[in-house]
């Protein structure tokens, strides 16, 4: 399995109970650093903003926006950086319930042909000020 060190940093976020938090409709800004530990031939390196459900039910998910950060050969120990700016949708808000959780995240996926993708995500809260 390919190996890469992926770091996601969110800017302009408020903190809510130790989690970065954004208001619905606001701009989610941040930076992604990818450092391959070996040469990786990939289709794409995606940076995605999206939500998914967790809990008892079958997972529902939606990608709200995505950026194609890189394609082709990622050379070993050659860092790759990219800043991003996504417009967070107005819904759904983050939710933690009995059977259902709604989790928003920025997720980086190294899409590798005929192999397991490399993923790293950073969850955040999307909720209005109460």
């Amino acid at each position: 399995m390919a190996n890469a060190n992926i770091q996601i940093t969110l800017h302009n976020a408020d903190m809510l109970e130790g989690m970065p938090s954004y208001e619905p409709g606001s701009v989610v800004q941040g930076t992604v650093h990818v450092t391959p530990q070996e040469d990786i031939k990939c289709n794409h390196v995606w940076v995605r903003l999206g939500w998914h459900t967790e809990g008892r039910g079958t997972r529902d998910e939606k990608v709200s926006e995505q950026i194609d950060m890189a394609q082709g050969l990622l050379s070993a120990n050659t860092p790759l950086s990219r800043s991003f700016s996504f417009n967070a949708p107005r819904e759904p808000w983050s939710y933690a319930g009995h059977y259902i959780n709604i989790v928003w995240e920025v997720k980086v996926t190294i899409d590798i042909p005929l192999a397991t993708d490399v993923n790293q995500s950073l969850p955040f809260v999307l909720a209005p000020r109460r």
Binding site: G55, T58, R90, P92, W93, G97, H98, Y99, R129, R130
Partner: protein
């Protein structure tokens, strides 16, 4: 009914005791076999008829909601009216405002749906007697809590706000109804 006794007795005169036993068995066996089906049928008819009979006693309630599309933090009013056609003892009338989580998943070849309800608010009227022609009028105000979630519906996971009305009548089937309140992803000012 009374004609059956002499008829069976008459048949018995023309038959020997063994023949009579065989005839009685032949007449009764299909009846014995069909008894469970008849009982089940009667029970099903009774279940089906009870709400109709209850409806003859109590009219369908009229429930009006001031606004069925709300923002988080907003309040709404429920007006409940019900006429009692004949004297009726009501055990309780309860309203519950709930957020229902519905999650669907596959288990083997089956699709399983589970629900969980968070009771957010409620009112309950205790037992009382309503006389024939008496009308029950009630008006209640509920609020979507400011920290609450909006309505959410996707393929396998749902969050729905419901006002549930439950009327328990003494000796009659309960009346239960749900009214959905759509909560939009906006905060009330």
């Amino acid at each position: 009914m009374f004609g059956l006794v002499p008829m069976i007795g008459g048949i018995g005169l023309f038959l020997s005791s063994e023949d009579l036993l065989g005839t009685v068995l032949a007449l009764c066996m299909p009846s014995l076999f069909s008894i469970p089906f008849i009982v089940v049928g009667i029970v099903l008819i009774a279940i089906g008829v009870r709400p109709i009979i209850a409806g003859m006693r109590v009219s369908q309630p009229e429930v009006s909601i001031s606004n069925d599309t709300l923002r988080v933090g907003e309040e709404f009013t429920v007006i409940y009216q019900q006429t009692f056609k004949s004297a009726t003892d009501v055990k309780r009338i309860a309203y519950n405002f709930v957020l229902r989580e519905t999650a669907r998943y596959r288990r083997g070849t089956d699709t399983v749906t589970v629900t969980h309800e968070n009771n957010v608010d409620g009112y309950e009227h205790g037992a009382r007697r309503f006389e024939s022609g008496e009308m029950f009028n009630d008006r209640r105000t509920f609020r979507i809590p400011r920290e609450a979630m909006h309505t959410f519906e996707v393929s396998n996971n749902k969050l729905n706000w419901l006002l549930k009305v439950h009327v328990e009548l003494e000796g009659w089937p309960d009346f239960q109804q749900e009214y959905e309140i759509k909560v939009t992803p906006e905060m009330a000012r």
